[in-house]
Amino acid sequence: MTTAKNLRSVPLARRLLSATWITVGLAVVVTLLVSLRYPIILVNSLVTGGMWALMAAGLALVFGVMNIPNFAHGEFFMVGTLVAYYVFTPIHKMLLKNPSPLLSVVAPFAGILLAGVVGAVVGLTIEFLLFRQLRRRSKEQWVMNTFLLTAGLSVILINGTQLIWGTEFKGIPRYWEVRPLVLLGVSLSVDRVVVFGIALVTILAFWLFMRRSSLGRAMRAVAQDEVGAQLMGIDLNLVHMLTLGLSSALAALSGASLLFMFPSYPTVGLKPLYVAWYVVILAGLGNVEGAIAGGFIVALLQTLTSYFIGVGWEDVVPTALIILILLFKPSGLFGSEVKGIWEQ
């Protein structure tokens, strides 16, 4: 991680005492202690945490590279649930009549993958039709204007979905009709295990892409110095398309993966959107790697709260804690060095 590298010159004792590491350390200790008595909490935090990480990473990416505070990010989650539902349900019905073991294993993956692809296409379309047009005309008040644009887009997408697909809940009880696994004395639905696997694989692939590939490096370059990136021969339009496509694909992927927990309906994306914003604010705006860690921390807070205090408090406790952390560390936990490109 870049932050860790920068801290090399700081003495070890001060480094360990910094707010960041106290919080991360506490999170790890709490997880370990709690999971000894209540393994279910660990399991649930990991499953939702993985998906919050994907949501938040996409949000952080778009803010870091394009300086857009994306309040329509939840609608990509919604698109994901919708696509997965309409791909998976017909196949599932067909399978009830003439069962095929192979297809019943593969069908959910097909739905989830296709959701990611559709999400990417929707993202590319929006970059092309909205942001590129605005960028060409004026970059003044960019953050405020794009905030309003995405807020409006969110309203349009929610109501459009309601108009076309109606308001009823479109959910599924589970993806895989298999008996639950038993792990550490907890019975675990296969769905949760697979979803956690999808999150891990996606995070790893995304991280490798950003760190190792030439295009990923170009995206980080645009986030750090837009003019510098252009002088290196990097096509900004290409990077912007890629950024929004990737970010919306990640959101759609997490929506589709969590379909068994979040049945699809027009406003299903709002809660994941708020959570992704908690995470991004907690981790530091525009810090993608921090957002991945933050996703798990917020999921842990939520699971702990709903288990010990009550589901109604699920959003209150994380928000209160985030306010506390920001009071002492206004730049967020992982103190992002990547500032908005047009504010440097």
Binding site: D225, Q230, G233
Partner: protein, 234 residues
């Protein structure tokens, strides 16, 4: 190699350049001199595609690059090392250099460029894995120039490399530019350090208030009464 003809350019309602004309032949080392605000940086920015000229022509190898977006100008083989350097502060020296060779797809050529710039600036090799944002001022300049030549450009535009540097480091940077020139790179240099620059370059242009007022061989300009009075304090 580079020909600028009757170039007008500026920002919004402020016109900075008035019919600027200059040319740089292949393999030549040319300087653009002049006081603050004369339009030296704007000229380079107009060539690099960061400022859109309102009139005139910019020809590179006989083809117009006027109005092209900056990334396409860069792909034509023109590399611009800006005054603000535009480094990627949260990336390592190595990653900054790799981005310099972003348009080079051939891994062997990339490695050759990397070896070359590490030979030119051994200091950067020592700092290979350090973040660019934590380098000293001189090291940043070296990194910016090194990154600028990673794509083996045909033409290198350098904006005030001596700015804010200690005399020793300025010398090192100028020596590096001379080495590049001996290797056949064409260089257009913007400088305020008139005396040193004129000893170094083949030819120079003097820009004042957005117009070219003087041009000639470096040695001739050193003896020019206007240059001596205004820039050399003789």
């Amino acid at each position: 190699m580079l020909e600028i003809k009757g170039l007008d350019a500026g920002y919004d309602f402020l016109q900075v350049l008035w019919e600027v004309g200059l040319d740089v032949a292949e393999g030549e080392f040319v300087a653009l001199l002049g006081p603050n605000g004369a339009g030296k940086t704007t000229t380079l920015r107009a060539v690099a595609g960061l400022v859109a000229p309102t009139r005139g022509e910019v020809l590179f190898r006989g083809r117009s690059v006027r109005g092209l977006p900056a990334h396409q100008v860069s792909r034509q083989g023109i590399s611009f090392v800006s005054e603000t350097l535009n480094l990627f502060p949260a990336m390592s020296v190595h990653e900054n250099l790799l981005l310099g060779a972003y348009t080079v797809r051939d891994a062997a050529r990339q490695q050759a460029s990397l070896d070359f710039v590490f030979e030119l600036f051994p200091r950067l090799h020592e700092r290979r894995d350090q973040l660019a944002g934590t380098l000293s001022g001189g090291e940043r300049k070296m990194l910016a120039i090194a990154r600028g030549i990673m794509s083996s450009p045909a033409l290198l535009l350098v904006d005030e490399p001596s700015l804010g540097l200690a005399p020793m480091l300025t010398l090192a940077v100028f020596e590096a530019l001379q080495t590049l020139r001996r290797r056949g790179m064409t260089i257009l240099l913007v400088e305020q350090n008139v005396n040193t620059t004129l000893h170094l370059v083949d030819r120079a242009y003097v820009l004042e208030q957005g117009r070219v007022v003087l041009q000639g061989k470096g040695a001739d300009l050193l003896n020019d009464p206007h240059v001596q009075k205004a820039y050399l304090g003789i």
